[in-house]
């Protein structure tokens, strides 16, 4: 079963704008990760936020985590054409360090 659900399913914005996508999950987690998938590079890890963290930054990426609402958001600032991809959240909620994945948000950056 899928733990995370991303919202929106698809997002289309102009280059230079900010993109925000959300992830909700059902059970308590150890950490939450965001991955990007495009046809060129496959699935690539972007950022990990632990359950005791509220916000994390990496370059143009900003991730927040609200464990009381069981939700996370990924903000990409100053979007570029190369950011066009599907973005997945994955949650780790057991002792086997297995990830359970959402269905992803498809992001299209228009030039």
């Amino acid at each position: 079963s899928q733990q995370g659900e991303e919202d929106p399913q698809a997002l289309s914005i102009q280059e230079g704008e900010n993109a925000t996508m959300n992830c909700s999950y059902k059970t308590s987690i150890n950490n939450l990760q965001w991955y990007r998938q495009n046809s060129g590079r496959g699935l690539v890890h972007l950022i990990l936020i632990r359950s005791n963290e509220r916000e994390k930054h990496s370059g143009r990426l900003r991730v927040t985590l609200d464990t009381s609402k069981k939700s996370s958001s990924l903000l990409i600032t100053a979007s570029r054409a190369a950011d066009t991809a599907s973005y997945f959240c994955a949650t780790d909620h057991d002792s086997n360090y297995q990830l359970i994945w959402g269905a992803g948000t498809k992001l299209i950056i228009k030039p």
């Binding site: 899928q2 995370g4 150890n30 950490n31 990760q33 496959g42 699935l43 690539v44 890890h45 990990l48 997945f88 994955a90 780790d92 086997n96 360090y97 297995q98 990830l99 359970i100 994945w101 959402g102 269905a103 992803g104």
Partner: protein, 114 residues
């Protein structure tokens, strides 16, 4: 550092045939995962290995799927016989050790069952 290698990249077979996928993880990575990703969905874990032992295969359809990692390095996933609903991308991932959260993915094998 070389990434996770998978082969073949594409495979087309007819239903009831068998198929095998190969994965070579990043050198030194102890944990290996096989995922199935159906179009429009996120990856679904099929099996997780720690070295050459199985950690979890609860979502592997064992009547038709099998996987092995005999020497704790590369791994093979087999489907026999294939069904139409097995059409998907099969992803292999590895992590350095059990408990290291970040997974590194190969390019995947795209399977089409006709």
């Amino acid at each position: 550092e070389a990434g996770v290698a998978q082969s073949p990249r594409y495979k087309i077979i007819e239903k009831r045939q068998s198929v095998a996928f190969w994965c070579n993880p990043i050198s030194g990575h102890a944990t290996l995962y096989w995922y199935q990703q159906i179009l429009g969905q996120g990856p679904k874990l099929l099996i997780q290995f720690q070295n050459n032992g199985v950690v979890d295969d609860s979502q592997l359809p064992k009547d038709r799927f099998s996987a092995e990692r005999l020497k704790g390095v590369d791994s093979t996933l087999k489907i026999q016989p294939a069904k139409l609903e097995d059409s998907a991308v099969y992803l292999c991932a590895s992590s350095l050790r059990f408990g290291q959260e970040t997974q590194y993915f190969g390019p995947g094998t795209r399977l089409l069952v006709l």
